[in-house]
């Protein structure tokens, strides 16, 4: 019985691997190029995906509100740049402020999600939308009007509103000069890698502490957990705080690695791609682990690198590639959710 369920859980990852192999041959690129691209994307995205694990463990489903964590980090970057604090000092400051702010905001979201039990996924999506517009309002209209501009390079020539693209090279350099090694042409910062390993270990470790046991218990049955004497509200808030903080950290690593910030679009869809990655790694909306995150990110981004090229070659049309990529991302979420649902129904019988 147990063995059979495990096999079922492999459906999504195996589909992925098969699809990736197919695309690899269609795309006709070298394996080294693929490895280099996937490694880069892995580093950029993995922490964000880890951020999703806690809420799933606590039975709150996919936390689409992680997008708020990413916006906080972006805002912190802009604010720190506005005060002309550059280099390592600036990066450290961004990290500090964004994590603190994420914890605070996470607490508020946690309180909110406690009020909408059972509807966490939808609520977090809507909260994400709302936060997006507040964010836009601040940086489109607030900068140069309410907020004083110290760094003229940030704003548009009219003096109001942050530019679309903000350069973060000053921060990127810090990491690029600390223990870098290469895969193909891609530079991998040891510092970032260490951060990722620490995060991965932290999630794994946390799941094996009494707090982790409580989180799991709440996730499996909130009512029972409450009757055993677990303060479920508190556990759920802790979970969302952790998730938001991880999201902020994840976006920090991401932007650090890219070296520039698309102020108004960078955070869009990040949460959906993160969810897709986790699901691709064989997680369900009820069960997810560090393992799922690592496998999923590799699988998803392998396909992401390959699919536009494969699409271009297969249909002899360059523009089809991008559509193909989006189709893959949303297709996975839909496919994984359906498979999950079916497994769950099976489990009940």
């Amino acid at each position: 019985m147990m063995k059979k369920v495990r096999k079922d859980e492999l459906i999504v990852p195996v589909t992925f691997i098969v699809f990736s192999i197919l695309c690899f041959f269609l795309s006709g690129i070298s394996f080294l190029f693929l490895a280099e691209q996937v490694a880069l994307r892995f580093i950029r995205n993995i922490i964000l995906v880890l951020a999703l694990i806690f809420p799933i463990m606590a039975g709150m489903g996919l936390n689409f509100a992680v997008v708020i964590g990413t916006m906080i980090t972006q805002a912190c970057f802009i604010i720190v740049l506005n005060f002309n604090i550059m280099g390592g000092r600036g990066a450290a400051l961004v990290l500090l402020i964004s994590l603190a702010a994420a914890a605070g905001v996470g607490y508020v979201i946690g309180r909110l999600l406690n009020k909408v039990r059972g509807r966490e996924m939808v609520t977090s999506i809507v909260v994400g939308f709302l936060a997006n517009y507040i964010y836009q309002l601040i940086f489109v209209a607030g900068f140069g009007t309410v907020i004083h501009v110290f760094n003229k390079k940030l704003v548009l020539s009219t003096g109001i509103g942050v530019k679309n693209m903000v350069d973060l090279k000053t921060f990127k350099e810090v990491f690029d000069n600390l223990g870098v090694f290469r895969i193909g042409k891609a530079k991998i910062s040891m510092l970032l890698l260490v951060m990722i390993i620490v995060c991965g270990f932290f999630v794994f470790y946390l799941m094996h502490t009494p707090l982790g046991q409580r989180i799991k218990a709440v996730g499996m049955s909130e009512e029972k957990a409450a009757n055993i004497g677990i303060d479920t509200d508190r556990v759920r808030i802790i979970v969302i705080v952790l998730s938001t903080v991880f999201a902020a950290l994840g976006q920090f690593v991401y932007l650090q690695n890219i070296g520039s910030l698309n102020v108004y679009t960078e955070h869009l869809d990040t949460e959906k791609f993160a969810c897709a990655a986790l699901l691709a790694g064989g997680a369900s909306i009820r069960k997810a682990g560090v393992k799922n995150a690592f496998i999923g990110v590799v699988l998803l981004h392998t396909l992401f690198v390959l699919s536009p090229l494969a699409g271009r070659n297969a249909f002899a049309n360059a523009s089809l590639g991008e559509y193909f990529r989006s189709f893959v991302a949303y297709g996975i979420i839909a496919f994984a959710l359906v498979v999950n649902l079916r497994l769950e129904q099976k489990g009940e019988k």
């Binding site: 019985m1 470790y205 946390l206 094996h208 502490t209 009494p210 707090l211 982790g212 046991q213 409580r214 799991k216 218990a217 499996m220 049955s221 029972k224 957990a225 409450a226 009757n227 055993i228 004497g229 677990i230 303060d231």
Partner: protein, 526 residues
């Protein structure tokens, strides 16, 4: 005063308008096994929930009266608080996490930890010491005399094993002062129940007090030092160990005010209208197991049992609300219960016990509710406009609704009043008026008088008898109010633990009913 672990004084609790606990007083000594018995709705569970700080209580307006724990007046706001003070509870429906192992469940919230970072052990952020947890769990289970592998997931173990895991979890608590048990032996066989009782006695010897709630009277008599009988939220009687007697307990529990009014019994020829053959219903919280029963045309059949023992599952099973297994014959043809529309067309109709959620359109008027089933299901009150288009016959509806309101004495401002504004009794009358309109052949009625005041109760019962007599409707009433069933039924089927225990005539003695309720063998007591 110091000798009492727990004292309850003048405890009162309302759910909405219903008083479920009425000036309840209890005192439990240290190391005492205190029995609490009572039929469905007597307030046992409510009492336990109050003592354990369950959020259900504060969510429904709290309670009045005093709970004195270890000589100190307390008011637990959460189960966490109650557990912190040394109270444990074993639930009838297990509070175990199915996806965790036996050991994990036993040690949940009290895990052993290794302190890697030199933090104090027991911290929320230290690493769980699985081996030590397993050893602990194994030791407790051995102490209970129950053999099971610690590493099994709880979802894969048997029901009685679950019960033992739950008990192990509570017993493993070091400073357990008071243990509350809600029907712990309901799922256990005699042998396992014996083991449990032994454990309870040992616990009591060590100084833990036990509040033991059960409907298995012989167990109560066997272990309890003191027994309190609750009925309708009131303490009916108190007995010490020497005074215990199963017959008195049974009578106190069910109550023996036999009502004077009875339906006259007609001798009809026995023609089956519904035939249940090995009929099982899987309804959450209520389970019907392999029912074989004939329902005769034109009778009023009462179904009764303690709560959760199967009386409600019959009707809901017939109406296809829950998964069923087995055969149901209507006349001589097999019925497909999943096809609810067809069932209703065949003249089978159900008035649910959960009126607010299942039986009524709360936001709609009294009028709409009365005519709903007839209008949409039976195409009544339709006239042809211009000879072609069917429209509502408003005049006819008005006449009928007014007539019903008068006849059933539905207390409402007008037929336009929203149903949600009516009292429970009047809501039930609306339900009945609706059922009358469709003139069903078989009418299932669930708990028709629950949450209904005494005056309305009479009217409702009277109506049921009237429908039966005048329209020849076969009525199957599921109710926990035995007195009422006795007054209106031709036969009463008693269920126990999902099985048909006995079919008794309404004039059977209270003892017979009490034994049928508890599933005890007659010779046990006689």
């Amino acid at each position: 005063m110091g000798e009492y672990v727990l004292e309850v004084r003048n405890l009162e609790k309302y759910y909405g308008q219903n008083k479920v606990l009425d000036k309840v007083n209890l005192s439990i000594k240290k190391g005492q096994i205190y029995g609490l018995i009572g039929a469905n709705g007597s307030g046992k569970s409510t009492l336990m929930n109050i003592l354990f700080g369950n959020s259900v209580i504060s969510g429904t307006g709290g309670y009045s009266g005093d709970v004195i724990f270890e000589g100190e007046r307390t008011r637990f706001r959460s189960t966490t608080e109650a557990i912190g003070r040394g109270i444990g509870m074993i639930y009838q429906e297990f509070m175990l996490i199915p996806e965790m192992t036996v050991a994990e469940n036993i040690k949940l919230t009290r895990e052993n930890t290794k302190s890697i970072f030199g933090k104090a052990s027991g911290s929320m952020l230290s690493f769980v010491d699985k081996r030590k947890d397993n050893e602990d769990a194994a030791r407790v289970l051995e102490q209970l005399g129950f053999q099971i592998d610690n590493s099994y997931l709880v979802k894969n173990i048997s029901v009685n094993a679950k019960q033992f895991v739950e008990i192990a979890r509570e017993v493993n608590k070091e400073d357990l002062k008071l243990l509350l048990l809600d029907e712990p032996t309901a799922v256990l066989g005699d042998e396992d129940a014996g083991k449990l009782i032994k454990v309870l006695k040992e616990l009591a010897k060590k100084g833990t007090s036990v509040l033991f709630c059960s409907h298995r009277l012989h167990e109560i008599c066997q272990v309890c030092d003191h027994v309190t009988v609750l009925r309708d939220g009131q303490v009916i009687s108190d007995y010490t160990k020497d005074e215990l007697d199963m017959h008195t307990l049974a009578r106190d529990m069910i109550g023996y005010d036999v009502a004077a009014v009875k339906k006259e019994h007609l001798n009809r020829e026995k023609k089956e209208i519904l035939k249940f053959q090995d009929f099982s219903v899987y309804m959450p919280g209520e389970y019907l197991d392999g029912l074989n029963l004939d329902v005769y045309q034109g009778e009023i059949l009462g179904l009764t049992s303690l709560s959760g023992h199967g009386k409600l599952a019959v009707g809901y099973g017939v109406m296809g609300q829950f998964p069923v297994r087995g055969e149901l014959l209507h006349g001589s043809a097999a019925m497909e219960v999943k096809n609810v529309r067809r069932t209703i067309e065949q003249g089978i109709f159900l008035l649910p016990d959960d009126r607010k959620n299942m039986g009524l359109l709360l936001e709609h008027s009294v009028r709409d509710n009365i005519i709903f089933s007839g209008f949409y299901g039976r195409n009544l009150f339709q006239k042809k406009m211009g000879g072609i288009f069917p429209v509502k016959d408003k005049k006819e509806i008005e006449r009928y609704v007014e007539e019903q309101i008068e006849k059933l004495e539905i207390k409402c401002e007008s037929a336009d009043q929203k149903v949600k504004e009516l009292s429970g009794g009047n809501q039930q009358k609306v339900c009945i008026a609706r059922a009358v309109l469709v003139a069903p052949k078989v009418l299932f009625v669930m708990e028709p008088t629950r949450g209904v005041d005494i005056g309305a109760k009479e009217k409702i019962l009277d109506m049921l008898v009237q429908i039966n007599r005048e329209q020849g409707t076969t009525i199957v009433v599921a109710s926990s109010e035995l007195e009422e069933l006795k007054r209106i039924s031709d036969r009463i089927a008693v269920f126990c633990e999902g099985k048909l225990s006995q079919i008794l005539p309404p004039d059977a003695s209270d003892e017979e009913f009490a034994f049928a309720f508890t599933g005890e063998e007659e010779e046990d007591g006689q």
